[in-house]
């Protein structure tokens, strides 16, 4: 009991913050189950509970939720896989190969990856508007164009993140293969790639979450209801009509969050490792 009293303030701090953390989550769960469908008006516990709001997501033509989910999955998985493939190759070159201009290249990469690509959004808007005139499949207002911008934007950060991981994989194996006469691409595909597969999978998933959660560029590009990702779709759906659409919106939010939260929590270790890697070393 004595240790509990000594630690009492620790528990109180934790519980105060848990209340703060859990409050909106509780509200969302309750609102999604509230069959009246409006903002929570009467009490913290809805008088009638049911799954009407969830059913609406799948039946109501006004909310093509499944289409949005499909679009999000499509955009986010292509971005994640392709950008990790390309980023891994660049990261490998910077980590393992020795060539002139390597140091300069890494510094340039480090500098580029700090600028989020949406900082140049007015330029992107204008450029992709021009691209649309020539390539209607890849300009402003198209999923293809959005994909291209995502691929470019995630290249810097993914290459940088992967370089950190690759640096921590021992180089002995590559070296022995090189002594045996293997070429750089053989070493990459046959020795390094299988070895780094778990790490690549983690970065792919992180990149997937990042793209899934992206809003600014997606809202700039995806104007058609049927093209929207979950982020843009739900934002447009709720925008200005909080009182009417709150119920289905919270249900959709809940469904969209759960897989992301699960992926995130299972990758916790890597995320936290990645967060502090840069600083603790110094």
């Amino acid at each position: 009991m004595k240790t509990f009293r000594v630690n009492l303030w620790r528990h109180i701090t934790a519980w105060v913050l848990i209340a703060f953390t859990a409050f909106p989550i509780y509200v969302v769960v309750m609102s999604s189950l509230d069959t009246s469908g409006g903002l929570l008006t009467t009490s913290l516990i809805p008088p009638e509970m049911g799954f009407d709001n969830f059913a609406k997501l799948f039946n109501d033509d006004q909310i093509p939720f499944m289409t949005w989910v499909k679009n999000s999955l499509y955009v986010a998985s292509i971005t994640a896989v392709v950008s990790v493939f390309m980023g891994a190759a660049s990261a490998y070159a910077f980590s393992r190969l020795r060539f002139k201009g390597r140091k300069l290249g890494i510094q340039a990469l480090l500098l580029i990856q700090v600028f989020p690509s949406f900082l140049a959004l007015s330029a992107i808007f204008v450029i992709m508007g021009e691209v649309y005139k020539v390539f209607p499949a890849f300009g402003l207002g198209t999923t293809g164009g959005l994909l291209l911008i995502y691929l470019g934007g995630s290249m810097g950060i993914n290459a940088w993140l992967l370089k950190g991981f690759i640096d921590s994989i021992p180089a002995e194996l590559d070296e022995s293969a090189r002594i045996d006469g293997a070429t750089a691409s053989q070493i990459y595909w046959l020795i390094f790639f299988p070895l780094a597969a778990p790490v690549l999978a983690v970065v792919t998933l992180l990149s997937f979450i990042g793209t899934f959660n992206e809003f600014v560029l997606a809202s700039l590009f995806l104007t058609d209801v049927d093209q929207r990702t979950v982020a843009v779709g739900l934002q447009q759906f709720i925008g200005g009509k909080f009182d009417q659409n709150w119920g289905p919106f919270t249900a959709g939010s809940l469904l969209a969050s759960i897989p992301i939260v699960i992926i995130f929590l299972s990758l916790q270790r890597y995320i936290i490792g990645g967060l502090t890697a840069g600083s603790v070393k110094g």
Partner: protein, 525 residues
């Protein structure tokens, strides 16, 4: 060894490589063809350079690192570097709604748009068809003088009586070298009919209104390339280039009404920057936005770090339930941010939001508060929501850093008689700040550009839209740039938005360099 057993050296790998390269070449080839068709010179050059480069790297013995770097570099250069360079360029232009096209396009559009029906109201009864070249042409009869002529895209030839035939309504409908369209062909042409201009030779045109009637259009403005002026036939005004992307009446070149639209994007460097610094109408909102951006980013870092650090210290001992606490407390970091923000926005909604409801129930307020209509409550809401979103991150990095501080230091302090608070204040905290400094700076930079929270929570408002105010009182630089460049299609200013973006580039760049130096990341390789 492994790679020999796999037989990767040799045929299969080479074939795979050629297949991939062939796919890239085919896609690239199609793209270049389309670019040529669209006459996009810049894109043709860029695409060709990329395609040649890629083929060189993978077909010839280019240095091996290029085989690894090329795919990533192409995307980085095309979709990250190009927009940055473009931003720099655009900031030197008058690039606004009404000034979006090139100078030649603008002149062509001005001349073309100045077509008007002639004052006498000349009209023609027509029959549309094909001339001997297969191009669209028309047999027309002037309704006033009854002269019949064959109009083609090249000009007009009057026809002698007897060389044409009239229909039952007295409209010429057959002549040599002329084939009338069938009703199906007319239907297929649709609205294209009204875009046709048959030159009449005196600077005016005959233009069909529908398939049986054309009117005479005269052109009010004529462009003279020698003097580079546009002259109006009706008013006699000679318009000159005002040096800022428009032709204007030289008597009053700065008056909005004397400018001709569309204009073109003209170099006006350094007007956009000068405006931000000296023109009170642009400068004052900019300074306001800039001040709030810095305050918002700073306060966000301070509040999230204070709460995160307190939590990290509280959880630094293996207390009961720590794992459970921890997995709940990092949820805000795991839930997609855009959703959390929208949910908070619903909770702060004036009439139905749970927050006003609870405050009323507890008797704290008597009337619902309109959180987003008042500058200060809106700002407070932003900081509260950002605290919710951000404290778990700070908790995670602070607890990581706490573990990195050797326990001996604290023990030594305790032996020397320091109280726990003293040891924290004088030993732990300085070390912690030193370790976390780069991450705190990055966090500042992140919040500096935290578009989502502003855009989704308040939309930058409250904003006095009736008075045409662009900068809302919770706008930060990035949302202000968005507002300036994109939100209102009738009032876009890409040049100014790019100048604002450049300020952000510089600030983010300086902050990041500072942070990287602190973490010594730059010296590691």
């Amino acid at each position: 060894m492994l790679y020999r057993l796999a037989g990767f050296r040799g045929l299969p790998a080479t074939i795979l490589k050629f297949i991939l390269l062939a796919i890239v070449d085919i896609i690239g080839g199609i793209a270049i063809t389309q670019a040529i068709a669209g006459r996009a010179t810049v894109m043709i050059v860029v695409l060709a350079a990329i395609l040649l480069g890629v083929n060189y790297v993978y077909l010839f013995r280019a240095p091996v690192q290029w085989k690894f770097l090329t795919p990533g570099l192409v995307f980085l250069a095309a979709f990250v570097l190009t927009p940055i360079i473009y931003t720099v360029g655009m900031s030197g232009f008058n690039y606004t709604t009404g000034n979006e096209i090139s100078r030649d396009e603008a002149i062509a559009a001005l001349v073309d748009n100045s077509l008007a029906e002639d004052p006498e109201g000349t009209a023609y009864d027509i029959t549309l068809g094909k001339d001997s070249n297969g191009d669209m042409s028309a047999l027309m009869m002037n309704q006033i003088d009854g002269v019949v002529s064959l109009a083609t895209l090249d000009g007009v030839t009057p026809l002698e009586e007897g060389t044409y035939e009239l229909s039952e309504f007295g409209v010429p409908n057959a002549a040599e070298g002329f084939t009338a369209y069938t009703p199906d062909e007319i239907a297929e042409l649709g609205d294209k009919i009204t875009e046709v201009r048959f030159p009449l030779g005196d600077g005016s045109f005959a233009s069909p209104i529908y398939e049986e009637l054309a009117v005479r259009l005269t052109q009010d403005l004529t462009y003279d390339p020698k003097t580079d002026t546009l002259t109006s036939m009706s008013t006699g005004i000679v318009y000159k280039d005002n040096g800022n992307g428009n032709f204007a009446d030289p008597a009053d070149p700065d008056n909005q009404d004397s400018k001709l639209y569309p204009g073109w994007r003209a170099v006006n460097f350094p007007d956009n920057f000068k405006g931000l610094l000296f023109d009170p109408e642009i400068r004052n909102p900019f300074i306001g936005v800039f001040g709030w951006t810095v305050a918002f980013a700073f306060l966000s870092v301070i509040t999230t770090f204070a709460v995160g650090l307190t939590l990290a210290i509280a959880m630094d001992k293996p207390i009961r339930g720590r794992r459970m606490y921890r997995s709940i407390l990092i949820l805000p970091y795991a839930i997609p941010g855009f959703l959390s923000i929208l949910i908070w926005r619903g909770m702060f909604q004036r009439d139905f939001g749970i927050i006003n409801r609870l405050l009323t129930d507890f008797g704290l307020i008597s009337a619902n508060i309109d959180w987003f209509e008042n500058t200060w409550t809106a700002r407070a809401v932003i900081l509260i929501v950002n605290l919710w979103l951000g404290f778990p991150y700070m908790y995670l990095i602070a607890s990581g850093a706490l573990q990195a501080i050797p326990a001996e230091l604290k023990e030594a302090a305790a032996i020397d008689g320091a109280s726990p608070f003293q040891s924290f204040r004088q030993i732990v905290l300085p070390l912690l700040l030193q370790i976390l400094n780069p991450l705190l700076i990055s966090s500042f930079a992140f919040n500096f550009n935290n578009f989502n929270i502003i855009y989704l929570l308040t939309g930058g408002g409250p904003r006095d839209e009736l008075n045409g105010e662009r900068a809302g009182s919770t706008d930060i630089l990035i949302s202000y740039a968005y507002q300036t460049a994109i939100t209102n299609p009738l009032d876009q200013n890409f040049g100014l938005a790019s100048a604002i973006s450049l300020f952000m580039f510089i600030i983010v760049g300086v902050l990041s360099m500072w942070s990287l130096r602190r973490s010594k990341a730059l010296e590691e390789f």
